[in-house]
Amino acid sequence: MKRTTTPPLLIRGADVLGEGTQDVLLVDGRIAAVGTQARDDAPTGTGTLHAEGLVLLPGLVDLHTHLREPGREDAETVESGSQAAAAGGFTAVLAMANTSPVTDTAEIAETVLDLGRRAGYVDVHPVGAVTKGLAGEELAELGLMHRSRARVTVFSDDGRCVHDARLMRRALEYVKAFDGVVSQHAQDPRLADGTACCHEGELSGRLGLPGWPAVAEEVVVARDVMLARHTGSRVHIAHVSTAGSVEVVRWAKKQGIDVTAEVTPHHLMLTQDLLAGYDPTFKVNPPLRPTEDALVLQEALADGTIDIVATDHAPHARQDKEHAFVDAAFGMLGLETALGVVSTLMVQPGRMGWADVARVMSTAPARIARLSTQGQGITPGAPANLTLVDPTRKGTVDRALSKSLSRNNPWHGRELVGAPHLTLLRGRVTAREGLVWGGEA
């Protein structure tokens, strides 16, 4: 891979983590100095970026992205998904394993890693499948995937639940050897089968849509935190969507169980009433829940019960969504709008500060995935993976402008306040105000 030298850059007057104005000097892909020292240390030829009014965060990290390559390059490629990520302020994404073929071997994991490096917009870290072919029957080659160049640390059958309790126990035990984590798609397949596509309740009853009861998620979350306690392993709960799951996670954390949890931007802000028109854009797994659940999720994110925001960016080709609601594909786009949703919903009303955003969208996801070069503090010596945010920029989401190859954007037509201004990967600009800049290759 050819790397070009990145010229030094002085970021002037940025609000670092929303906690004070500082100058930040970037040299050779790292933060060289912060504060008054930065200007003094700037070598000849340093470019200057005036960042007054902008907030500087460590680069965003998404623990839950679907890039569709290999297998469904018509919906998304590693390159197009990486561009969407960079445009959304991300510097690293964890690419889920439900590709075709499934990422269940070291070879496929390395292929995804290499595709990401070739694209060069963000660090792409493959997530390994927990079970071969996501079939839920035999463990995939967890250790070999970890030993590969991809250094896989996060394992998930996302899209499906590891519902066999014994297999889940073995997976949790096995990944302890290399400090891995199992990310669970909590969905009891007997309580919410493949046809379930709408939160079970009055609305699903009225619409005649197969219900996905909250308890189908909650029983698996409860089981898995107990398995994590039994094994002493790390378990991560993907896309928590119900108040009951929050309650279980809160209890488990109080017990000292090593559990982390994520919430998606759409479960935070969107609610089930959007399904009244049967628009498959809003079909997602787990389904959009009632307002009461969304409010609990917002509160849990603010108080730290839920550790991170993860996008569950799930691009789909048009033809896969243009079916009757129950037949359409699950999932919605999220990389380009995640920061705007968190800003609009949590930061603007004063429920979270930008330092909290850094925690839930960068530091904590990087820590869960054990990424050593992402989610670091804005301190000298840290890699210059950074996101500059314009906290006041208002914009109406237009799905036509997406870098993703797909258009299943549930935010289309909504106004969001707060947007990525500049994304820097190892000191190099990868995106500026939604426009992506050339990859590293």
Partner: protein, 310 residues
Amino acid sequence: MKHLLSIADLSAQEITSILDTAVSMHEVQDRDVKKLPTLRGRTIINFFFEDSTRTRSSFEIAGKWMSADTINLTGKGTSVSKGESLRDTVLTIAAMGVDMMIVRHPASGAPQQIAQWVDCSIVNAGDGTHEHPSQALLDAYSLRRALGELTDRHVAIVGDLTHSRVLRSNLLCLRKLGAAVTVVAPPTLMPSGIASWAAADGFAVSYDLDAVLPTVDAVMMLRVQRERMSGGYFPTAKEYAVTYGLTSGRLARLPAHAVIAHPGPMNRGLEISADAADAARSLVLDQVSAGVAVRMSILYHLLAGEGNAQ
């Protein structure tokens, strides 16, 4: 009115207008020559993605008696089964210049989605477990013929409510016409959220058929689908028949004037006994006959009514 997608879209006045027009349409059935020129030159596609006998033939007869050109298409063997998206499939058919598409689909909401994609009129002929508005209209028509105006009449709807599109349309229709409604089923066959739904829409919920029967003016029995029996919804067919079937014994609990309705097809011996199905107070065949008249009225309102005349 451009579409008939849900009873929810109709006002009580519009429902009454459809039922009143159906009265005159019903007279056509007694003529030697059953033909009205009303829809001459109009093309109606019966697009049935799911098997149906009575609804499809009823709509087809209604269209033909009104001189429309009616064409039947099924989901089987069409481009849908070859992997084409629903949107592309219906756009292709609509592009042939049809005036109306009558859609039966196994997926709830499909007619609503189709109505957003094409320009022609869409009639929902049953979508998944959502609605079956023309059935509700013909049920109301039959009940009205038997009982007079439905205001303050009490109708019990009994059976597999979870999976019944007839239930959802009938609830809306009967409530709009002022009837009191009680839904009766075991808790496993009640739609989710039924308690809050009932509170919002003003109907009653009961698990006790015997307690409800003496209070009704009409009892509408819904089919229990045989495939549900392995789904753990109830222990055995025998237990269901004894607990929730309209048995011969329960016939005696009905008030003398009360009538029996069933949208068919019937499982005799399960949700309804032969005695009840064939009783003089049974409206089952009247419902079928009324189906053509009501569907003629629906076609009239959508294609030839005020604002639609060419």
